[in-house]
Amino acid sequence: MSKAILYDATVCIGCRLCEKACADRNSLPYDDNVATEQVISAHKLTVVMTNGDKFMRRLCMNCQDPTCASVCPVGALRKTELGPVTYDESRCIGCRYCMLACPFGVPKYEWGKVLPRVRKCDMCADRVAAGRPTACAEACPTGATKFGDRDELIREAKDRIDKAPNQYINHIYGLEEVGGTSVLELSSVPFDLFGLHTPTEPLPMLTYRVLSRLPDIVSLGGVLLGGVWWITHRRAEVAAAEAKERQAKKDNDGNGKQ
């Protein structure tokens, strides 16, 4: 039932209507200046990157196993059943660990505000929950950005590559990246041309491997420390008792002589 976005760069004409639709949906200003910005930021949650005559969309990948949600100390970032990774502003303490941890460098901060929020694409979670497509997919005039069931879109992406192997590189970006994402991308040129990394290991396990051992460390450590204390103090008690005995014996001997 999980939803996804399929972006096919070979169909994209770089019209940026997705950028505009995204800005409108998130109540962000959008003008010619913003349109020229090539990086995502707190005021531009998706970008159509241009490299010669090639395009590539950047937006939150809405990972299947999101690093941001795993590192957030207050659970402000969550993976929903339907696919979107949502951000609950009212929980956020502003530690910015999500920004440090995200392998795609997606979460951005409102640095200019006194009470800032993290901003990122949330795959139009409210629309998706209401059974509607994301704003960007709805706005796309060519079908380059398509919204649908993740499994179906994966099948479709494979189909497109199989039918036109010369037109695509044989890679569905987002199928395996960090264990899979809810945004899938197809391209005719390598993804690293647009600075997209391709880590395949889901990152949350890297820290959870350690965290899951904490109960063991606590119980083992507690017993160990308690044990050491018991032994060292027993020794001190015995030494004290022996000293007392010796003293008593000495006193007795002294008395006997008198």
């Binding site: 795993s70 929980r91 440090l100 640095w111 800032p116």
Partner: protein, 397 residues
């Protein structure tokens, strides 16, 4: 001779605190963007790298020494336990203060306590730091109780001190190592000279090294500043343990670099390599060389120098992990803004000031209250009798 020196420091302190006050106003009226050099590409800077990472590390003397005295029953170290616990407690309070500057929404600092995410290292650190600060307050409490002659409170504290110390050691083990675990999540961003699956182990062992070095450092400083007698034989023993801990750390660290094939990065001189070498020279090579030499180890100056080197070396290490090692992947060089430096310097200055006040008004050092104890153990081999401590006193009172 003492008066002008005092005035000099007082002037510096005033300048630092004034700059810090102005920076604080900027921070809370203009936001993080205007008051720091942080950015989307570099979200963690000096306040996390120094104030939090180094602050917690420098407070490690607390758990190291309480474990030594209470768990391992090495009673002779008791005379230096009070200033160490005070330093640790102050350290953690100041870490929390620093967080109030760094967090985007400081008034929600309590959120992790009620909004749980057990998968987050940050969540675990938040809980541990909260609990451990409470434990340190309770470990420090008898000093205040004693001053106020609260005998019942003293007896209650005495009854729970062992579980308290064990809890403190466990909590410290967890969050000292977890500060390293925080960076396990960035295998592609942190430079291979520092990224390692063993980060939590390195952070824990180095916390013990720094705990020992900090205890030596602050005993020396106190003896200079407050004219307290130096517990040299105790510090020499600590120096001996310190060199072993440093050696263990050095072997582990280099074995790890070797096994991960990261030593090759040392062949290319550059920004990261230079700062790595600085860290190793300051924190490991020099102090190990110094402490291995018996004459240096058993001299006040030698011990002091070695401990200062260890502190500088591991401060460099924490800054390397949190700043140096993250710059290449971010594609920029981060240097803190004056406001960031002013606030950090003010927090450090406040730490020194509060410590001085505490020493003045509370029975922190044994001499302050122990003329009777000293005559009683007049022939003891240690320069200062260790009979005076709250738990032996409480029973007699």
């Amino acid at each position: 001779m003492r008066l002008p020196k005092f005035t000099f420091w007082k002037t510096i302190m005033t300048v630092v605190l004034l700059a810090g006050a102005y920076a604080t106003v900027l921070r809370y009226t203009r936001g993080l963007g205007a008051s720091t050099n942080l950015s989307d590409r570099f979200p963690w800077g000096l306040w996390i790298g120094f104030d939090v990472m180094c602050g917690v590390m420098l407070a490690a003397g607390g758990f190291t020494l309480t474990a030594t005295v209470y768990i391992f029953n090495l009673e002779r170290f008791r005379p230096i336990i009070r200033p160490t616990v005070l330093t640790a407690f102050l350290g953690y309070v100041l870490v929390v203060v620093a967080l109030l500057f760094d967090l985007g929404r400081p008034y929600r600092i309590w959120h992790p306590l009620v909004m749980w995410n057990p998968h987050s290292v940050m969540f675990e650190v938040a809980w541990c730091v909260t609990l451990y600060t409470t434990v340190l307050a309770l470990e420090f409490a008898p000093i205040v109780f004693e001053r106020l002659n609260l005998e019942k409170a003293l007896r209650i504290q005495h009854a729970i001190v062992i579980p308290l110390v064990i809890l403190g050691v466990l909590l410290s083990t967890l969050h000292q190592s977890s500060l390293g675990s925080l960076y396990l999540i960035v295998p592609e961003k942190l430079h291979p000279l520092w990224y390692s699956p063993l980060l939590p182990v390195f952070f824990f062992i180095s916390a013990i090294c720094v705990g020992l070095a900090m205890t030596i450092f602050e005993s020396y400083m106190s003896s200079k500043a407050f004219g307290k007698q130096l517990e040299l034989p105790l510090l020499i023993s600590l120096g001996r343990v310190l060199v072993v801990a440093l050696a263990v750390y050095a072997v582990l660290r280099f074995e790890d670099l070797y096994h991960r094939g990261a030593l090759q990065y040392l062949r290319h001189p550059g920004y990261e390599t230079n700062l790595f070498l600085l860290e190793v020279a300051l924190g490991l090579l020099l102090p190990i060389a110094l402490l291995m030499n018996r004459r240096i180890r058993e001299s006040t100056g030698g011990l002091y120098l070695a401990s200062v080197l260890v502190l500088l070396g591991f401060i460099t290490n924490r800054l390397n992990v949190s700043i140096t090692g993250m710059e290449a992947s971010a594609g920029l060089h981060y240097f803190p803004k004056w406001t960031e430096i002013a606030i950090t310097a003010s927090i450090v200055a406040a730490g020194f000031a509060i410590f001085t006040l505490a020493v003045k008004y509370l029975p922190i050092f044994p001499e302050a209250k122990a003329p009777a104890a000293r005559t009683r153990q007049g022939n003891a081999s240690l320069p200062v009798a260790h009979g005076d401590f709250v738990f032996s006193q409480a029973g007699k009172a």
